[in-house]
């Protein structure tokens, strides 16, 4: 770690987005899992996540019932802290929260 001379003055953070370096996923004791079959791509989990840890991927998905979507929502497990808000807000109960440790 840098000594006092090497730190930017005023405690400025000079690299935008450097917060992503902190792997807060280690704080998680429960894990949300999105069921891609039930997910209706409403984006509510993405909007509610307090940590920006729901990823909106430009990747298509077709359900077993034949419904096609252009996007897929996935959890960024490096940063998700396991708060469960996504599961609570999901209108179709497509997110399940399971313990990390068995």
């Amino acid at each position: 770690m840098s000594g006092w001379r090497g730190l930017p003055i005023g405690a400025a953070v000079l690299r935008p987005g450097s917060t992503a370096d902190n792997v807060t996923g280690t704080w998680r004791v429960v894990r949300p899992i999105i069921d891609q079959e039930r997910c209706i791509r409403c984006g509510i989990c993405w909007a509610y996540c307090p940590d920006g840890s729901i990823l909106e991927l430009k990747r298509g998905y077709t359900t077993r019932g034949g419904k096609s979507y252009e996007v897929t929502y996935e959890v960024d497990y490096d940063h998700c802290k396991g708060c469960g808000i996504c599961a609570n807000e999901c209108p179709v109960k497509a997110i399940e929260v399971v313990p990390e440790a068995k």
Binding site: M1, W4, L7, P8, I9, A12, V13, L14, P16
Partner: protein
Amino acid sequence: MLAELQRGARERVVSRRAGLTTNYAVAHAVKAVDVDVVAVYPITPQTTIVEKIAEFIHGGELRAELIHVESEHSALSAAVGAAAAGARTFTATSSQGLEYMHEVLHIASGLRLPIVMAVPTRALSAPISIHNDYSDIMNARDTGWAILIASTAQEAYDTVIQAYRIAEHPDVQLPVMMAYDGYLMSHTLEPVELYHEEHVRGFVPRRDRRNVLDVRSPITLGAFATPDNYYEFKYQQEVALRNVEGVLREVEADFAARFGASYGPVEAYRLEDADYALVTYGGAATGNARMAVDMARERGIRAGLLRVRLYRPFPSAPIVAALAGVKAFAVIDRAIAYGSPAPGPLYKDVATALYMEGLTVPGISVVHGIGQRAMYVEDFYGVIRMLAEGAGTGKVLFLGLRE
């Protein structure tokens, strides 16, 4: 030779000699350095500074954003935002206003923002007083701001100009407070030599600062620091503040060359051969003590005066050097450090500075002019007499108090 050079410099730079209150002199300095943003909330006796600045902006003499805020807490917060975005920023307050700013004082210095603030000092409530003493500034002395205390309107004008050079210096990058007596200076009209503004702007050119908010190259200010780093940031601040004394000397050397005036971190008057010294700050205490020194000299007492101009960082070396040779000294404080080992805040600093050099010069702690209780030249002469009659270490005096 130097004096002649300085006179020559002055003739070139002075645009006019005007009768101004110190508050108006400060407003003229703010205009001369071409500030970008002014955020101030009115409070007596500061208000006439911002009234004058508003007039300058309205009349098109100063192109600056005057931000109307709803409190002093907001005034300094707005100044913090403006300075963080790289603007040359000014604010001013007194008394309760400075108290209300208190938490933001630490934020401004912690973020290393070169804000300049004028503080015509005023007593604190309760009971309510609009009159002068230095209780307000003394509560802000450990906030990481550089603090300069002026003793004349001319010096206040010059110091605001110097303050921007000091605050924006890469070895400093800290906010600077410029204090002076409320009423006794803020509302006293006296001669001030104003400079041609192009000379002032040449003296304080805009320079690129480190770590400024800029959408083209984003950074984060005001982030969290864990125990791993917090201490290092605070130590950086302490080092930067201690750099101020050297930077002040450097800035003043250039100021003297261009404007023919300099003051130094401390100012001595008739101290070279003095047996007894008065130590003061501000206008009324210093001016009256100076007259008292002359009175004492006429009566055969070798008295001298040391005025502390740079209060934070504390210029220990010149103060210790000035007092090392006297038989006794008295520090005249304009505030009470309630319940402290000595009642005078500056006295405590002077005593500590001497002790750290292993010196034990007899000194007394004098409190005077609380809530603008009248201070007369004779009062200061009385203190010199007391020193000459042998009053020494440990003596405490609440001057002008009714028994």
